[in-house]
């Protein structure tokens, strides 16, 4: 533990600037929410060689959009003059849906997706089954299928307004 670090965290002002640029990169499957709002942008560093390193942690390990998002982030950052830059996918650090920002949750809801309930620790069956209807706000709902049109969505039914709706899965 005495060797010089090969990378150092970016100063907060620089990290903020990068988050600002990455507001332009949306989830390709939910095109109103940015990767920053989803909480998938993690550590930001400067390497010993002077490269800016941004970590991207996937929601689900099998997410088919991850390479597309990675390239999109690199392109946006390069265009903003942040170069050389590398966006690295890190799978060994769990993403949890608690990382979605309050603004991200609001945008999901406006998009018609029920935001995930706060998990805070171990993911329980109760947490998986609980969803608030994005149309009428009722919690008198039922999980129809833990698998929906994309890996990060589940299907629920609302007994109050009788609509079937999608939820961004708690994880």
């Amino acid at each position: 533990m005495v060797t010089a670090p090969s990378r150092v965290p970016l100063p907060e002002a620089e990290a903020d600037a990068i988050r600002g640029v990455l507001q332009a990169v949306k989830d390709p499957e939910i095109p109103v929410v940015s990767l920053v709002e989803l909480g998938v942008i993690d550590g930001m560093y400067r390497t010993a060689e002077g490269t800016t390193l941004v970590e991207l942690i996937p929601t689900f390990a099998g997410c088919p959009a991850i390479e597309f998002m990675r390239l999109h982030c690199e392109a946006e950052l390069a265009q903003a003059g942040i170069a050389p830059v590398t966006v690295q996918v890190v799978k060994t650090r769990p993403w949890t849906s608690d990382r979605i920002t309050p603004r991200g949750r609001q945008l999901l809801k406006e998009f018609g997706l029920s935001p995930p309930p706060v998990v805070a620790g171990e993911l329980t069956v109760e947490a998986l089954a609980h969803a608030e209807c994005p149309k009428c706000g009722s919690t008198h709902t039922e999980l129809l299928n833990p698998f929906g049109p994309t890996l990060c969505r589940a299907l629920h039914h609302c007994h109050q307004c009788h609509e079937t709706f999608e939820q961004f899965k708690p994880l």
Binding site: F60, A61, G62, C63, P64, K91, T92, R93, P94, W95, T96, L123, V125, L128, L144, N145, P146, F147, G148, P149, L151, A154, L155, K169, L171
Partner: protein, 255 residues
Amino acid sequence: MSTQTAPADALLDLLTRLADDDLLLGHRNSEWTGMGPLLEEDIAFASMAQDQIGHALAFYELAHALGAPAPDDYAFLREPNAYKACHFVVAPIGDYAFSLVRHYLYDTAKALRLQALTRSTYAPLAELAQKLAREHKYHQLHGRTWVQQLAQGSDESRLRLQSALSEAYPMALGLFEPTPFTEALAQAGVQPTERSLETQWRTETESFLSGIGLSVPTADATPYLGGRRGYPSEYLLPLVLEMTEVIRQDPQAVW
């Protein structure tokens, strides 16, 4: 070389088994795409396949860091007897009852294994297992829900489920086939022995299945073995040939 306490060949053996099982069963599950008995199940099996192939990739990436070929090459350009998948995951999808029972039995085993791996002394695997274990909750919920519904449904659904269980259970025991590295992995704290995982799995599956009125063929079950040790199932070669039909046309092609 600070976190590794087990030799690299033992870790590679484990990572390859984990990856191969998920890749091949993921491919089998994907065969339900467009063919499911109802739309929701079609989507569920396709989604689980996508998760599994994603998990396989993550395990292949760890193997690559230890010297295995790049993930795509390792996954698709190997000799059939170099795969370490158990026979259970390679078996054809059969009817929906068989695929469902296999999904339940496999995912119960995988959940126990991932749980144990979160405490692994091999840090990269422990960290990855924490991520995958959370995703995996959805597979467990899905499998248990449908097995229970059909076990307590009509006479026909119960009979078909029972018949699938009698066929699948001995195959599933092959998930815990020991390898020459099992003891070394346990001694280094990488993962418990296969025998201890099997004991946990038997307890959990027997309790759940008998609780919903199914009879578990435990005593007379002869495990399907060989897959972990280079004696692949007869179904492996046709499956690998199908999976690699495109890449073998031009292994150097850039996508």
